[in-house]
């Protein structure tokens, strides 16, 4: 029985049989160049664009009224903005994991999902960046965070995790953009060579920078790509570690825990893979890419969601264990407040979403059902948002002194900003799948049987 199951999984290929260099190229370029845009694209983009307007309206209102337009108050100084920042950054992590870590581990199945997962990273980081930028209150002075020669001879506080975050997130954004663009260069050359109309030929040609597939170029290209993967791997771990230190270095009960860095990194990968599933499942259906994004991809991603989900659950268990075992009254009060305080509902919803829901993925039947995977992925996205809400808001609302306690609820500006950031993310994704190849064409060429034969043994 298990033998048979294993056989099934192995035979479910990373690319449907029968494809060659030319069919792979044509099928992916066709989506961008010749196929008429599906009606769903226009509808989806219209909705996303509307939400971008909500984002702009929320930001305009915020700038007009000042940070007081938000529901944040004195104990709860970090709220929706930081919850959403951490949520978006975490989503981005799966893209880097797929493109860098799985490349280093030679997981060939990553090939058809890495391009749009990287795009997802880039857009998620862009959305994440909005929140801290506006949370500083006077975003036109945000450059104060950067060390630069100034007349006051002042420097930023290099010993603060908040400043580490500035460096970590901006490096992460830059490296993600580089990685994505480098991966696109040979495909932009393919589009330049296939495009029929001259303006598009010129635009794709500018992007391709004169790429002509010379062997000498490929050699350096592959080296650069591998080195970028090797650099992005520790980077992605460092980014969420630094994000977790924003909390763990503080002394608030519920934040001050040594388990935060690994637990945050696992949570980031968990939420990111859930988001990749959320996006991949409708995309492969709408654009008929079941040949390239096969059930095997979805199943592998489901397994990663399950594995990282278990690490996250271990993190929740350890937080509770520390609170009890430390015998620290403040930690014990924090736990009681989390479970039964004013935001207790969020904690129980979080456990239902993140601890119970992924357990269904133990069953192969569930992993093989596209609909079930989509629903589970959506629930995990909600669960990870709740996790950050519980950590940020519940901990701040009730710290050491009852006299300083207060509760927090978001205003329409905060909700508008969050919903708007979802719109920005979707709008960018819609533009990406319309104008750029959402699957890496040249990497898919290395997967087809003809390409593999030609490739023979890799000496590296």
């Amino acid at each position: 029985m298990t033998q048979g199951t294993r056989q099934d999984e192995r035979t479910s290929e990373v690319i449907a049989p029968g494809h060659t260099l030319s069919t792979v190229t044509d099928k992916i370029t066709k989506i961008v160049l010749t196929r008429s845009t599906p009606l769903g694209w226009y509808l989806g983009f219209a909705v996303a664009f509307l939400l971008v307007m909500v984002l702009l309206a929320s930001l305009a209102g915020l700038l007009w009224k000042g940070i007081g337009a938000w529901g944040e108050n004195v104990p709860v100084g970090w709220a929706f903005d930081i919850v959403n920042f951490v949520w978006w950054i975490g989503i981005g992590h799966a893209g880097t994991l797929i493109s860098a870590i799985l490349l280093l581990f030679r997981q060939e199945w990553r090939t058809s999902i890495n391009r749009f997962a990287e795009a997802m990273t880039l857009f998620a980081v862009a959305c994440a960046g909005i929140f801290p930028l506006f949370h500083v209150g006077r975003p036109w002075l945000a450059y104060w965070l950067v060390p630069y020669p100034n007349t006051m001879a002042l420097w930023p506080q290099f010993r603060s995790p908040l400043l580490w975050d500035v460096f970590a997130v901006s490096t992460y954004g830059t490296v993600s953009a580089l990685f994505w663009y480098v991966g696109l260069i040979p495909d932009l050359a393919t589009l330049r060579d296939r495009a029929k109309s001259r303006p598009w030929k010129i635009l794709y040609g500018i992007g391709a920078m004169g790429w002509r597939g010379a062997a000498r170029h490929w050699e350096r290209y592959e080296t650069a790509y591998l080195l970028l993967a090797g650099l992005a791997t520790p980077l992605v771990v460092s980014v969420h570690t630094v994000v977790s230190l924003d909390f763990a270095v503080g002394i608030i009960p519920g934040w001050h825990a040594t388990i935060f860095p690994p637990y945050f990194v696992a949570g980031a990968i968990y939420s990111g893979f859930a988001m990749v599933l959320t996006l991949a499942i409708p995309l492969r259906k709408i654009y008929g890419l079941q040949d390239f994004i096969t059930l095997r991809h979805l199943q592998n991603m489901a397994k990663i969601v399950l594995a990282t989900g278990m690490i996250v659950v271990y993190g929740y268990a350890m937080e509770a264990f520390f609170a009890w075992y430390s015998a620290n009254p403040y930690e014990e009060a924090m736990l009681a407040n989390r479970m039964h305080g004013p935001y207790g509902w969020a904690y129980w919803c979080l456990l239902a979403c993140n601890a119970i829901t992924p357990q269904f993925l133990w069953f192969k039947k569930v992993r093989s059902s596209v609909v079930a995977l989509f629903v589970i992925a959506l629930i995990v996205n909600v669960g990870m948002w709740l996790e950050r809400f519980v950590i940020v808001v519940t901990s701040l609302a009730r710290d050491f002194l009852p006299s300083s306690w207060d509760t927090y609820s978001p205003t329409r500006y905060e909700i508008g900003l969050y919903v708007g950031s979802l719109g920005l993310f979707l709008a960018l994704l819609f533009l990406f799948i319309r104008f750029l190849p959402m699957i890496s064409i040249f990497e898919m060429r290395t997967l087809v049987p003809a390409g593999e034969e030609r490739r023979a043994e890799e000496p590296r």
């Binding site: 040979p186 296939r194 040609g205 920078m209 062997a215 170029h217 650069a224 080195l227 970028l228 890799e458």
Partner: protein, 183 residues
């Protein structure tokens, strides 16, 4: 002896098209046997055997290592300079050179500099961006980004002669062989 000079002015090289990577590898061997040393292959996917057959050297990793070291020195140096030399301020009795707190930014700048060196170095060593190249003028070369493999014997080979190059490549499994005019 006059023939190479006559061609050198109007011929950039001789280009042959193949349907498979194996045919391309055979053609590289054949051209080497015929004494050609300067040649370039164009493939729709990265092929390590081709760059090995052509004997390409790749210095990029050294530059990237240099970039990473420069990033680390810049990152730590900036923080040390700010905290110890330029604006020393006692915070909670901690040492001015509180180096463990400087590691995250040092690390991030190491990665940033190394990644920028990898990408910009790859482009610079490859001579990109280069909007035009003589090979783009060859009809059918656009298939190099789809499913065809090309080999070009280059005019600056000391032993290059257009007629000899045409003869060598015609003896391989090439679909087409043509001269690439100099721009």
């Amino acid at each position: 002896m006059s023939a190479p000079h006559k061609h050198a002015h109007r011929c950039f090289g001789v280009l042959a098209e193949y349907t498979s990577g194996e045919a391309l590898l055979e053609a590289i061997e054949r051209s080497k046997q015929d004494g050609f040393t300067k040649m370039e292959a164009y493939t729709p996917l990265p092929m390590h055997e081709v760059s090995h057959a052509l004997g390409h050297e790749n210095d990029l990793p050294k530059y990237v290592l240099g970039g990473g070291i420069l990033g680390a020195v810049t990152g730590f140096g900036m923080q040390y300079f700010a905290a110890v030399i330029h604006y020393p301020i006692n915070v909670g009795g901690k040492p001015l050179n509180s180096w463990p707190a400087f590691i995250p930014i040092t690390f991030e700048l190491t990665i940033l500099f190394a990644a920028l060196t990898a990408v910009l170095g790859m482009l610079a060593l490859n001579g990109l961006p280069r909007p035009h190249h003589p090979v783009f003028g060859v009809p059918g070369f656009e298939l190099a980004s789809r499913d065809r493999f090309f080999l070009m014997l280059l005019h600056y080979d000391p032993r290059f002669d257009a007629d000899r190059a045409l003869a060598t490549l015609r003896a391989t499994r090439a679909n087409t062989v043509q001269e690439v005019p100099h721009p």
